[in-house]
């Protein structure tokens, strides 16, 4: 446990001039403001810093706007990008009057979920390991108005550029779905990814591997070591920050949007999960895939609530362009050891009890990791508490299944709108122990509908012109 004094020492040792305070808004974008170092003292870690919360998405109404952020000493790291030596600190949002944790702060929800886990005595730690995929583009442009609309992304390694005059074009643009993972010169971004990894490690994250991903046009993955729920969500946040900024420094642009390219894989954020108690992995047992009964119930809970979870773990309209049945997307609510098309995969890489975990594949990096991790764990816990039977594992390839058999396997909702409806109907599992409140759920659904689903509805799509212009 790092103490305020340790943070102050960090400031001194690194000759820090600026302290940057960070917290997450509701949809999952990191927010910040800075104070000069002399404003930071031990007292700051109790009294916090004031800011106006009225313009933060999903926070207070205008008439009750004053908020506090209180730095969490555990969340301090030196920024690897700024010219002025800057210390970033992840903060908790707090009500300025009662000093209670602010109920709409996503990080507070993640922390409540961890407390609730301990409170149930089922386990003391939930470990999450997230593999967020992303694209590196050279150029990105988009616009839409009353009379036109388009997007345009480009990448030096995009298959579509094999015929472009690049003076000279040196080739080696990976074919669609074949970029996993030939060595350079196919892979154009080895050094950039390595630089990202080094930056990540400077920020305190442990990286296990980095590699090119399946899609052409620069799809990448860097694997960060698992951590306990809130810390793992902090790490996803730091990860996105570091990856984006390293690329920008090198004149490239990274996106975590789930499905930026038509005709190739989207970016997921597979989440490895396990519950531990007293240093023992509770998912290890004698059942299927080396799983314990508790582990299978956790799977049962995840599968049972997946339709509702979708609204939180795949929370954008774009998410459902990735989660399309029939295109290798993990939309079928089943689990399997080998089959990478089921929503849950049980990795077979190691049989050691400590390595037993499940990989939940529907999430994508457009989610708010604090909310997503908390919600997934609550679904799993609900499965444990109600002993939800996960059904039989699916070891046949789902794509090989005849339509008859497939009919019996439920699948994820096909749109954000449908997912929100499921969440509306099934969210009691989130409310246990007041981890999520009715207010959180209602606000989320309202926000997503009003700010994302409905605006999308209003806009014609370019492909609609292809389909219907001549009708």
């Amino acid at each position: 446990m790092r103490k305020p004094a340790d943070v102050l020492k960090l400031v001194k040792d690194n000759d820090i001039k600026i302290v940057d305070l960070r917290f997450m808004d509701l949809p999952g974008l990191w927010q910040h403001f800075s104070v000069p170092t002399h404003e930071l003292s031990e007292k700051s870690f109790e009294e916090g810093f004031g800011f106006d919360g009225s313009s933060i998405r999903g926070f207070q109404a205008i008439n009750e706007s004053d908020m506090l952020v209180v730095p969490d000493p555990e969340g301090a790291f030196v920024d690897p990008f700024t010219e002025v030596p800057t210390l970033n600190i992840i903060c908790n949002v707090v009500d300025p009057v009662t000093k209670e944790r602010y109920g709409r702060d996503p990080r507070a929800i993640a922390q409540k979920a961890e407390n609730y886990l301990q409170y149930t005595r089922i386990a003391d730690t939930a470990y999450f390991g997230a593999e967020a995929e992303f694209f590196i583009f050279d150029d990105v442009r988009f616009d839409q108005n009353a009379h036109c609309g388009y997007y345009y992304v480009d990448s030096v390694e995009g298959q579509w550029n094999s015929g472009r005059e690049e003076g000279p074009n040196l080739g080696y643009k990976p074919r669609h779905k074949e970029a996993y993972f030939p060595v350079p010169p196919h892979d154009h971004f080895q050094d950039l990814r390595s630089e990202m990894v080094l930056n990540l490690e400077r920020c305190g994250l442990t990286v296990e591997a980095h590699h090119h991903e399946v899609a052409t046009g620069g799809q990448m993955e860097i694997d960060v070591r698992y951590n306990s729920l809130t810390r793992a969500a902090d790490n996803v946040t730091i990860y996105k920050y570091v990856v984006k900024n390293t690329a920008i420094k090198r004149g490239r642009s990274v996106t975590f949007m789930p499905k930026p390219l038509f005709g190739d894989n989207g970016s997921g954020m597979h989440c490895h999960q396990s519950l531990w108690k007293g240093g023992k992995n509770l998912f290890a047992g004698e059942g299927y895939g080396g799983f314990s009964e508790m582990g299978l119930h956790y799977i049962g809970g995840l599968l049972k609530h997946s339709a509702a979870l979708a609204a939180i773990i795949a929370p954008t309209t774009n998410s459902y362009k990735r989660l399309t049945p029939g295109f290798e997307a993990p939309v079928n609510l089943a689990y399997s050891r080998r089959n990478r098309s089921a929503a849950i995969r049980i990795p077979m890489i190691s049989t050691s009890p400590s390595a037993i975990r499940l990989e939940y594949r529907p999430p994508d990096p457009s989610c708010n990791p604090y909310l997503a991790f908390a919600a997934m764990m609550m679904a799993g816990l609900d499965g444990i508490e109600n002993r939800t039977d996960p059904g039989k594992p699916l070891d046949k390839d789902i794509y090989g299944l005849g339509p008859q058999e497939l009919k019996n396997i439920p699948s994820l909702p096909g749109s954000l709108d449908a997912a929100l409806k499921h969440l509306e109907d099934d969210h009691d599992f989130l409310l246990k122990g007041d981890v999520f409140t009715e207010d959180n759920v209602r606000l989320w659904i309202e926000y997503k509908r009003e700010r994302e689903v409905n605006p999308m509805r209003l806009r014609p799509h370019p492909y609609e012109f292809a389909l219907y212009y001549d009708i």
């Binding site: 009662t98 407390n115 301990q118």
Partner: protein, 963 residues
């Protein structure tokens, strides 16, 4: 002869030969009776001439006689008068005894009848003055009708069996019908008190009248140790709680003692009802397989004690072949067969023995020798006791003492000059008869157990599905298929530990008890599911399992509790140590007075440990107190109202402890800190009304007085921030309370702590009607009571002042407007069929009606306000008509009870899909034991009832508020 001399000296020599004869018989047989006659020579006049047998006295005859006697002795202390009457009657009975004109059963019946009549009189004598002072004890039934509460004295032991000895204690149990309160309209009005208090006073007065000692002695020695909870149980207990105790907590021997239960005095109807309700517990349809084992174990303990004291041979009651062995054997046979054959349910030992013979369970020849032996032993016991009116069953060891005893047994004629050896010979013969009978009854049973024990163990061995099911069925578990999963899971948790022989041994003993407890639970499946969770929580600590299994006495109650409530199971698994404390039943059963919560929690908050450690201790004690409340609740030891009051007292105590802990954390000790503001914590909402339930929020408003400089204000703010933090932190030990601070002046935007002046100003100038409604419920809960009292006083008067100024129409429209808004925001009833708060005709409507009427008619709060009291109060004040009061009263009770059961059983609201037929039926049965056995019918009944109540309440709302 010494007595005759003394009598002569006093100049009251009996005139007439008959009387002299009687005197000599009595005084010669018993020095005690002789002394009595010397003290009260007039008693000789009442003895029947020549000691000739009269027809046994009837109850009416005896009652009349007693009334006359008391009238004649009205100058005496009432207790002494009762005693004198008893002594007078004793002489008559003893005379018939010594003259051989009445046999043993007749004598003991006469003695028992006398005790009944005296007890009944004592109840009447004690009742009258109490009713004059507090009014008659009443209760409102579920329909809101008033009825009188009643009181009964249940006799157990010898008095229960109508086999009282001259010097026996009388074993009693006091009951009253139901909780409620007195009418308060007595002639010397002492105000209204709770029924419990009324009957506690009554019971202790009765006990004082009967057992109170003066130098001349007492009427009877009274033994109340067989009451629920034993020596530490409450003196008097409502019928429902008593029955629940015997169902859920009582040890086998306590249930066995109920064989002899008999309504002896007070309300015969109430007494009869008690007997009817406990009978199925004493005589279960399928007899308890461990019954004989437990009885043998107890007898073995008695034997061990006697032999250590060297009394095995001399004690004719408890020793080998003594009275206790006949009684145990007879009772064992009764309990084994009485479930199927009601004819065997008989309190009197001799009669029971006769009936066992009639049913062929005892041979007729055996019956004859046994009843002779029993009569002989009881006779002998009588003679021993009459010697000096002393309770003894030990034979004298000196030859002279034995000779006198033998002579009193009138054995002299049988063996002239050698009475002592004749006595010894007869005694030995009877004892060996008894011993043989006892061994034959218990030996058979013991044999059966041994085979049981050697068979495969469900928890240790790997039984296949077939045999596991068979074993579960054998223990009376219904639908064993549904239990396979949790049973296997439990087995999996136990097996790693079962590798040590110690644990295996424990498991063999504990295993069947777990199954038995589950079979008795409301829901065996829930019991095993929760056991699994509990064991996996304990599992982390290997000694924990050993500790759990070795407390065999708590295993069955634990299983029953785990099967009844997920809420309680949650507390257990967070604090498995609580399970061990269930052994201390007295502690579990007692409803502690409010000060006790306070004292215990304050102690946890004080001390030198670091604040974090003290917070932890506070949470643990809070959990423990919650668990005890839930246990009493599940076992129906407490009424809903008592449970809610207890939870509120617990909240009060917790808050006080937190206020002190927080003061320290906020730096009260620092210079300038402690001298600042005086802080009062006001409770609103359910806390204000003392209607806290499991999981209720605390609605708090912090008020300070003084300390207006910036430094003191900052301290007050830190103080309250710390209070909120300690209360609402969710730690491993759980969360004390959720805190809701939105009712403070200006709501979310307002300061956390307001000064008293600011509170007054706010209520006077800016508060809206709904805020005024909320503040009507305000109560000082913790902190400094003086500013608290000032705050409450001024709040109430300001609110009424403003309501008057606003006028009825404006109030009505504000109340309906607010209600509409809340209803709009509430979850749809289809989604939450059991959410009773914000729905048309639900709890909120009842509260809104009450608050509206209070504001409209400026009705001040009664002392100790709560919803039900306010309904009565508004009715008395003329604001609420009788019908409205009845509907709201009924509806409110129903809603509260239903909501409460959901919280208790499921620990959280039941959303739509979970509120299935089975769960609704369980709730229906929890609310009303008479609900239909068919699940569909019970569920439908519940939902219809809910619908009826909401419709009626809604109508009242429309009529009164909407107008």
């Amino acid at each position: 002869m010494r007595h005759l001399e003394r009598l002569a000296a006093s100049g009251a020599l009996p005139s007439g030969r008959d009387r002299l004869q009687s005197f000599l018989t009595l005084a010669g047989s018993s020095p005690y009776l002789g002394r009595l006659l010397v003290q009260n020579p007039s008693f000789l006049d009442t003895l029947p001439a020549g000691g000739s047998a009269r027809a046994p006295r009837t109850r009416e005859d005896l009652e009349e006689d007693l009334a006359r006697f008391l009238a004649l002795n009205s100058g005496r202390d009432p207790s002494a008068a009762l005693r004198l009457f008893k002594q007078r009657e004793y002489l008559g009975i003893a005379l018939a005894d010594f003259l051989g004109t009445a046999d043993l059963p007749a004598i003991t019946r006469a003695l028992s009848l006398l005790a009944d009549v005296l007890l009944d009189k004592a109840v009447q004598m004690a009742w009258a003055p109490l009713e004059r002072r507090f009014g008659a004890p009443t209760r409102r039934d579920d329909q809101g009708h008033l009825e009188r509460a009643t009181f009964a004295v249940i006799a157990l032991g010898k008095l229960g069996g109508q086999e009282l000895n001259y010097s026996s204690d009388i074993d009693l149990l006091y009951l009253f019908s139901r909780d409620g309160e007195t009418s308060g309209s007595g002639a010397e009005s002492g105000g209204t008190i709770g029924n419990k208090e009324f009957f506690t006073r009554l019971a202790s007065d009765v006990t004082r009248l009967i057992a109170g000692r003066d130098p001349e002695g007492q009427v009877f020695r009274v033994d109340l140790d067989l009451r629920p909870g034993g020596r530490d149980g409450e003196l008097v207990i409502p019928l429902g709680a008593a029955v629940a105790y015997f169902r859920n907590w009582a040890d086998a021997w306590e249930r066995q003692a109920l064989i002899k239960a008999r309504a002896a005095a007070g309300s015969p109807a109430l007494g009869r009802r008690f007997i009817d309700l406990v009978e199925p517990l004493v005589y279960p349809e399928t007899p308890d397989p461990f019954l004989t084992m437990e009885m043998t174990a107890m007898k073995d303990r008695i034997d061990a004690r006697l032999s250590s004291e060297g009394r095995s041979e001399t004690d004719i009651k408890l020793g080998r072949g003594g009275i206790r062995e006949i009684e145990f054997a007879v009772q064992a046979l009764q309990m084994l067969h009485g479930g199927r054959d009601p004819w065997l349910r008989q309190a009197n030992t001799l009669l029971a023995l006769h009936r066992l013979a009639e049913k062929g369970l005892v041979g007729y020849a055996e019956y004859a020798t046994l009843s002779e032996a029993y009569t002989f032993l009881r006779d002998l016991e009588h003679r021993l006791q009459l010697g000096h009116d002393r309770q003894t069953a030990t034979l004298p060891t000196d030859p002279a003492g034995l000779r006198i005893l033998a002579r009193r047994m009138r054995l002299g004629g049988a063996a002239p000059g050698d009475e002592t050896s004749a006595l010894a010979e007869r005694l030995e013969r009877h004892r060996s008869t008894v011993r043989a009978f006892y061994d034959s009854v218990f030996g058979r049973a013991a044999q059966k157990e041994i085979t049981e024990e050697e068979s495969e163990d469900l928890w240790v061995e790997r039984l296949d599905e077939e045999r596991t099911l068979a074993r579960l069925r054998q223990h009376g578990l219904r639908d064993p298929e549904t239990l396979l999963r949790p049973v296997r899971a439990v087995r999996r948790l136990l097996r790693p530990a079962a590798t040590t022989p110690e644990i295996r041994r424990l498991l063999r003993k504990a295993g069947p008890i777990l199954l038995k407890g589950a079979a008795e639970a409301v829901d065996a499946r829930r019991a095993f599911d929760n056991l699994e969770k509990l064991l996996s929580a304990i599992g982390a600590d290997p000694l924990g399992l050993l500790g759990f299994l070795s407390r065999r006495e708590v295993l069955a109650p634990t299983m029953r509790l785990l099967g009844a409530s997920d809420f309680l199971a949650g507390l257990f698994l967070r604090q498995p140590g609580l399970v061990a404390t269930l052994g201390d039943r007295a502690h579990v059963l007692r409803t502690p007075p409010p000060e006790e919560y306070r004292a215990s929690l304050l102690e946890a908050a004080a001390g030198r440990d670091p604040a974090r450690a003290r917070e932890g201790e506070l949470r643990r004690r809070h959990n423990a107190a919650l668990a005890y409340i839930a246990i009493r609740d599940i076992n129906r030891q407490a009424t809903l109202r008592e449970v809610l009051k207890s939870l509120s007292n617990l909240a009060d105590g917790t808050l006080e402890a937190v206020v002190r802990l927080a003061a320290e954390e906020a730096g009260a000790d620092e210079p300038g800190g402690g001298t600042g503001p005086r802080l009062s914590v006001l409770g609103l909402g359910r806390l204000g009304y003392r209607e806290m339930d499991y999981g209720s929020d605390l609605d708090l408003v912090f008020v300070r007085e003084g300390g207006d400089d910036e430094r003191a204000r900052a301290f007050a703010r830190r103080w309250c921030e710390a209070i909120v933090r300690v209360l609402s932190t969710l730690s491993r030990d759980g969360q004390l309370y959720k805190v809701d601070l939105r009712l403070r002046p200006s709501g979310r935007e307002g300061d956390l702590v307001v000064s008293l002046e600011r509170l007054r100003d706010y209520l006077r100038d800016s508060a809206e009607v709904w805020e005024m409604q909320s503040f009507l419920k305000a109560r000082h809960v913790a902190g400094d009571p003086e500013p608290g009292a000032r705050a409450i006083d001024s709040v109430e008067s300001i609110v009424h002042e403003r309501a008057r100024a606003a006028g009825a129409a404006a109030l009505a429209s504000a109340v309906t407007g607010m209600r509409r808004r809340l209803l709009q925001d509430a979850p749809r009833p289809e989604r939450r069929p059991l959410d009773l708060k914000a729905r048309e005709g639900g709890l909120m409507d009842v509260h809104f009606i009450v608050e509206f009427l209070q504001l409209r008619d400026a009705v001040p709060n009664p002392a100790d306000k709560d919803t039900l009291r306010l309904l009565l109060h508004l009715n008395a004040a003329g604001s609420l008509d009788e019908e409205g009061m009845r509907i709201l009263h009924e509806g409110y009770l129903f809603f509260r009870a239903l909501d409460h059961q959901v919280r208790l059983i499921h620990a959280r609201p039941l959303p739509h899909p979970a509120a299935d037929e089975a769960r609704l039926a369980e709730l229906a049965r929890a609310l009303d034991p008479a609900a239909p056995a068919d699940a569909a019918a019970a569920a439908r009944g519940l939902m219809e009832k809910l619908q009826d109540h909401t419709t009626s309440v809604h109508r009242v709302f429309e009529r009164i508020v909407t107008g």
